[in-house]
Symmetry: C2
Subunit: 434 residues, 2 copies
Amino acid sequence: MAIAKDLVVPPRGMRDLLPDEVALRDRVSAAILDTYVAWGFRHIETPAVENIRNLTAGQGGDNEKLIFKILKRGEEVEDWAKAQSLDALVDLGLRFDLTVPLVRYYAHNRAKLPRLFKAIQMGPVWRAERPQRGRFRQFVQCDIDVIGSGAALVEVELCAATAAALQKVGFRDFTIRLNDRRVLEGLARRCGFAEDRHGAVFVSVDKLDKIGRDGVVAELRAHGHDEAAVASLDAVLAGLTAPLADAAAFRAALAPGADEAAVYDGLASIAEALAAASGGSYRVQLDPTLVRGMGYYTGPVFEIVYKDYPFSIAGGGRYDKMIGRLIGEDVPACGFSIGFERIITILQEEAAAAATAPARRIAIIVDGDVPPARGLAEAARLRAAGDEVTLLPREKNFGRQLKTLHADGYSGFAILRAAGLGPIEAATTERAGA
Amino acid sequence: MAIAKDLVVPPRGMRDLLPDEVALRDRVSAAILDTYVAWGFRHIETPAVENIRNLTAGQGGDNEKLIFKILKRGEEVEDWAKAQSLDALVDLGLRFDLTVPLVRYYAHNRAKLPRLFKAIQMGPVWRAERPQRGRFRQFVQCDIDVIGSGAALVEVELCAATAAALQKVGFRDFTIRLNDRRVLEGLARRCGFAEDRHGAVFVSVDKLDKIGRDGVVAELRAHGHDEAAVASLDAVLAGLTAPLADAAAFRAALAPGADEAAVYDGLASIAEALAAASGGSYRVQLDPTLVRGMGYYTGPVFEIVYKDYPFSIAGGGRYDKMIGRLIGEDVPACGFSIGFERIITILQEEAAAAATAPARRIAIIVDGDVPPARGLAEAARLRAAGDEVTLLPREKNFGRQLKTLHADGYSGFAILRAAGLGPIEAATTERAGA
């Protein structure tokens, strides 16, 4: 009987994860979680599913178009044929990020939470994007957020904790890039862009890494922005020939007005604290062209880049107005999100996983005439010494069984006969028999 | 502005998990996963979502009526109003267990998996049950399965590994109960129940713990089973006055036919191996009335009960015919599932969590004139000594801030002033100010 293919494949755009990949993901998750817990953050969980009204309240940007919508059940659907629209049949959806659920969680549970609340969230989110190589419709996000304080200490702790987590995972050669949305606002204002066009200007500036200064300027012109403002911004960009490692260079490149002193001082204090905390183990750079896409950011924004990978491996910023939209009272908040799938991809490419690989994986092959209890006892003895140990019943085709051990991921094996346990031998694809 | 309640509550029947509960769940998950990995099982992951055809193929019993169904998206829905039924609008659903996805995973990936495959699965499942106290529509399952061998060694290893995981979590006083579906079949046959009524008989026998022998017999009579058969079964049940600790007592109570020798020998060898492996740290009992609900079991079945809790904390069995239904070729399989939510409930009730609670949780309160980098350095020093350490900016209302530290879960605090870090003081609800 042939297997019905559509019965055995995972849903379109989703993946089955094989054991080696899950082992890597588990090691990375545990390293990140352990670090954040040691830094005083608290792990929380929300359901994978949210009420559809909460997912479509306008906080999710384009992600709101990508929701997996869940049908009402049983008696909750009166008569589908009489429903006025598809939406009338839907009451729930799969979450598309962890920020919208966090804000709802905080609003619902704040009486039981510390006034200054430091949250960890790690879990899958779902987006019905057009499937493409390297992008999946279910993927893991890994966020920390601090709710309830506007102090610069918050940004410093978020960035330093994220750096510590990445170092625990094994990343070394990375750079934290910092900016402030208000620096961008001031720059756009001084260049002479119309206030209501600032958002559009930032979208173009955000492409600097991809299309270069000439590309950004050309796009701004094509979009019909004020010609003198574009020329003015072009001059500022031309002056940014190297990464800005300190606050003095940052101020010199941007010539902020006196009214912006507090914003620049705040950003400088964050950068200086991080540079001191890094002890040279990672770089800290100020970048006035750093935008970070989400519309809800209100202050400092940051990201972490690694080697010459064309994407950031972590990103975040301050969003002081988002909680207020839900609960009617502004509560300052700031978050940093590690791109979990991206760092897994990098670790797989670099085979860095090998550095943290577990101990030996040993198979004890148990002859048919040996009582199972003896197999358990021998396995327990090896396991106590730190090995991963599995029991395999001896198969009729013993030669084939030995041949496949290496391919099956075992580093060694030993045969348990009535006479006792044999020596541990290396699993190899060469061996033809016993 | 009042908060719109329906925007902030989780979906009906689902939960937000607060930090203390998640910390407990994380410790339990890690203890179970570490144990199973050390025993040679491999962690795998499937998507939370499955194709609806796979979820409704008849393997899930009543759970198939409880599926959260996902609407087709965008261009995948041609014209909903012309659809002939609700089902025509649905292509996916949330998984209701981990066994149906495991069987699909094995069928899809078997070329990349060991021929004798030992899988760990831990993750949420969803069932649209009527919400009731203690039951939730999203809950975690925690399964190990061995695919590809019919040897009794498999049952032994599954039971011993599950016992080891529960011991690692902190459970001591538990009992593994064993039976075999074929023992039940033989018993029903010898009592004289019609072959096609055996399933219904088992459903009644399964209630023995809840309604007692008289209740079971009354129900069998009410259901119209053969009167002589009911009387015969009643006599057997009357003989089972104490748990059967060994195979000889088991045989004596049931008087099996010669054709059942292999089944009884297999069950005896499993029980003996487990009793030896336990070293007296848990009990092993044979129970001919143990049914385990799922219809797909074909051989040994087992469960773990703890103290006098009226539910099992783990359950499983052999299902040698289930994979064959999907791939057209019988592959033996056997699994054991820990009731994750149940053991969390027990641990919370017993406050056993305290025994594995982490080190001190310390808050460093940073004065406004102290550079953030000094806070990071002091925190790193305490963290290196094993504490969980968080930084809090000093609030204007310092007295109130100190008062809430205990309620917020901190065990101690220290104040970081320009002059240096103060002593670590115990967080208390009594303290009125600094």
